[in-house]
Symmetry: C6
Subunit: 76 residues, 6 copies
């Protein structure tokens, strides 16, 4: 991919950090399957499956560990 989509892991708030974790998780899918049409076709397959949604949340949780550590857990 030639576009720039990730300049920093630092965010202002934990919620923005969580949303960055979602972006990271989606990018992992997109690097593996760059064809947007295929991705759209597959969406109902996991977004309507309990197991698929739990698995998606697990990937987000794994990326959120990274983002949270990068931000020193937004401790004040």
């Amino acid at each position: 991919m030639s576009d720039t989509w990730l300049n920093s892991l630092e965010t202002d708030t934990p919620q923005e950090g969580y949303e960055l974790a979602i972006t990271l998780s989606r990018r992992g899918v997109k690097y593996t399957q760059p064809d947007v049409d295929v991705l759209k076709k597959l969406r109902p397959e996991y977004a309507n499956s309990a197991d698929g949604l739990t698995a998606a949340s697990h990937v987000i949780a794994t990326n959120f560990q990274t983002v949270a550590a990068a931000n020193n857990y937004w401790r004040k």
Copy 2:
């Protein structure tokens, strides 16, 4: 999502931290499938499946690692 739901990873007790980990896990599902009606329909699929419940507990455990680290493990 436009609402604010995560201001801090810090909690008073480990139990509140565990419950925050549950919130994080559910949000991961909800960001992926925002349609509340679909989510309600899927609930029996994992809440009545041993594998689904174990997978849900795994996601919570992953998020709890993050919350616990953020709170320095509530050490006294």
Copy 3:
């Protein structure tokens, strides 16, 4: 859940820490499916399945990482 079940992540021994990790893993299931009758009915489904038991042990391992770090690995 209104009861208090988690006051501290600190335990005297690694074995008690491992058992706390089991408690955390079970709570993750119970928060997701609070109906005790459903849980009892599901028990044979994973307790008699090799894959289910391995998955349960994986969740415990993840929670044990948290508990062990909280106790500074019970180093002497």
Copy 4:
């Protein structure tokens, strides 16, 4: 379980640490299904399944992270 099986996470060598990680992984299974006869019956189910063996190795890897950190990676 009333027996004492885990007094310390410290081992002399990384290999002993890896073997402790295996013990931890097996205990997670045994706490969940204490009936030794059931466990024996299930053994062929995962020990003859490629997926089952990979999953077992994943649990060991997770526990090995804990044991290795506890031993400060046996650095000299």
Copy 5:
């Protein structure tokens, strides 16, 4: 494998770090199945499967934790 493909975990930007995590994830597959023809044949199997893509993103997330820590999260 006799070629040199990994000299350092350090990258200039988080995005390059994420791309290194993808390389690491693919290498894990290639070490296990070195036959390029088999790999090509299997590609549609996961690249057109929602579960397969989520699992691929999970592996990348796990490797990204390592790369991000190695780079001290590219903190400025």
Copy 6:
């Protein structure tokens, strides 16, 4: 197993560290199923399965986290 196969987690380069992570992952399988003939018979089952290869890469990624931390990420 009576042989000595793991004396240290330290390696000269990240690539050797990654290869050690592969060794650790395979040992987890071998400790669980020591019968080499069974292992050989199972090899096509995961080496020709996209899901099996992704799962293998996930275990390697988990062990690589440990090896990389042990080597302080080979930082110069």
